[in-house]
């Protein structure tokens, strides 16, 4: 019965989008809280190199991307403690890894690959196997984040408080790094390397004005990410637009609505306060 359900490419696409959204949104909250946006970019952009290596050595794309993303994330984490200006360093790494990856792909003369599919995703061609991979990866990331929630949160707020309560901020950082690499590896099929960071950051940023606690922000971000995926999919079908970018557009619209609405509510609240 499942096979019948997943026969429809739109259904497979919808499940792929929701799977990535559920993993990316809570993790994206940590990316926002820790000001790691560029970190996500660097890790995601390095994935193109992973694609090139996978094609060269005929290994599954998922494995190549995962390994290269992990290496990139580990490299950035190591360098971060050593007195480099972080935003400059990450800017350099994010863009040069993308450039190196693109050059490497161009050397693969024997293979004809659709570069656009890796840069912007190709959610409509998701197979049942891809879907299994996406949901397994998403489940791992989701479990990691939920199980280690307190330690991750406390380390994010203040590493010393985490130490005093018996957590190791370094270990929590390592867990985030692994989770990020997994999200990149599963999201590449859905939104592509250029827009993975958008799926991490935009839902979290949209949820921020609507949330009072970190947990609420993670849940709202997940809801927003799922809605954007489904709305973007539907819109791309209606307007015949590329699906990955349309999903990100949907998320961006929700972001604008959420921030504007919260500004208006605040502005309306102020005079009311004066009267009371």
């Amino acid at each position: 019965m499942l096979e019948v359900l997943f026969d429809d490419f739109m259904v497979r696409a919808a499940f792929a989008g929701v799977g990535v959204a559920l993993a990316a949104a809570p993790l994206g909250c940590f990316v926002v809280w820790r000001r790691m946006a560029y970190f996500g970019d660097a890790t995601a952009h390095a994935a193109v190199l992973g694609v090139a290596l996978s094609l060269t050595f005929s290994t599954p794309i998922f494995a190549g991307v995962l390994i290269v993303s992990l290496l990139m994330a580990a490299l950035v984490t190591t360098l971060s403690g050593r007195g480099f200006a972080m935003d400059t360093l990450l800017g350099v790494m994010a863009h040069s890894s993308l450039a190196v990856g693109l050059v490497a792909v161009s050397f693969l003369s024997g293979v004809r690959i659709d570069l656009m599919a890796y840069l912007f995703g190709d959610i409509l061609s998701v197979s049942v196997d891809d879907l299994m991979l996406i949901w397994s990866g998403a489940a791992i990331v989701f479990t990691l984040v939920v199980m280690r929630w307190s330690g991750l949160l406390l380390s994010t707020m203040n590493p010393d408080l985490a130490h005093a309560s018996g957590y190791s901020p370094k270990r929590e950082q390592f867990i985030l790094t692994i989770a990020l690499a997994i999200v990149v590896a599963v999201a590449i099929k859905v939104v592509g390397v250029l827009l993975i960071a958008a799926m991490l950051i935009i839902p979290a940023a949209t949820a921020r004005p609507l949330s009072k606690t970190p947990e609420a922000m993670a849940v709202i971000a997940a809801i927003i990410a799922c809605s954007s995926s489904l709305a973007g999919l539907k819109a791309s079908y209606l307007f015949d637009s590329p699906t990955g970018p349309t999903i990100v557009c949907a998320a961006a619209i929700l972001f604008i609505i959420s921030t504007t609405a919260s500004k208006i509510v605040k502005a309306m609240g102020r005079p009311a306060l004066k009267h009371s």
Partner: protein, 254 residues
């Protein structure tokens, strides 16, 4: 013994911040660490909780030691929503009643639902203390905990620390600038300037030339010189405290 350091040295980068620190604290004791800016007071507390590694020597902790830590500053990113109640229950859960009681005791009632970011410095400092006390710590570490409190506020704060010590029979290690207020309440004082300059009961420490060299007469070269002569049996200590350029900054009596 709850926690002790044994010939502990700490380096941050290439700088030697702490040199050969041996100290320990027992249950029920209030130990105060005083010293000028940059003398390594905060680093010592951070080394005790394991946040900075020892370059030499080591830190011994009693097993299952529950630590309540109040950091000097805590910046919460504006992207992170956090109510006072949620902050109080991070990482361990407590009942609503326990939280209300803890906030009442710290003199910040009815803040439960406020965002941590919206608190004033003094309110936040009290919330940090309330959070540290919720876990019924064996050891309370306070790093300049009265920052942001006015004079009355900090007197009340220290009164609460004493009450907590009585109630929980916990040890307290605190770092402070407010020499006179703090020292009266302490069982023992360590005068720190990279190394331990002197230590002992408050009245003993406040009578030592090292203490005066660090806090009393630093602006007055002649007096320091006079002290130097007068107590020349301490002279190696005095000069080692004085030589540090770190204590050139002004330190007024609190």
């Amino acid at each position: 013994m709850l926690i002790s350091s044994d010939a502990l040295s700490v380096r941050l980068g290439k700088r030697l911040i702490l040199d050969n620190i041996s100290m320990s604290v027992d249950r029920g004791e209030i130990l105060t660490i005083i010293g000028p800016n940059g003398s390594g007071k905060s680093t010592l507390l951070r080394a005790l909780i394991g946040a900075v590694p020892a370059a030499l020597g080591r830190v011994h902790k009693a097993s299952d030691l529950r630590i309540g830590y109040v950091p000097q500053t805590l910046h919460i990113d504006e992207t992170l929503p956090m109510t006072v109640r949620r902050f109080m229950t991070l990482p361990s859960a407590f009942s609503k009643k326990q939280i209300t009681t803890a906030l009442d005791q710290a003199g910040v009632s009815a803040l439960d639902n406020q965002q941590v970011m919206s608190l004033s410095g003094g309110q936040f400092q009290r919330v940090l203390l309330a959070r540290a006390l919720l876990g019924k710590p064996d050891l309370l570490l306070l790093d300049e905990a009265t920052q942001g409190l006015d004079h009355r506020g900090s007197i009340g704060f220290y009164r609460q620390i004493e009450a907590v010590r009585q109630e929980l029979n916990c040890a307290v290690i605190m770092v402070s600038h407010e020499l006179h207020v703090v020292m009266r309440k302490s069982d023992r004082v360590i005068c720190l300037n990279g190394h331990i300059c002197c230590q002992g009961k408050p009245e003993v420490v406040s009578a030592t030339p090292e203490y005066h060299a660090l806090f009393g007469f630093e602006d007055d070269g002649e007096t320091a010189l006079y002290l130097h002569k007068e107590h020349h049996q301490y002279s190696h200590n005095v000069s080692s405290c004085n030589n540090s350029d770190l204590n050139k900054e002004s330190h007024s009596h609190a």
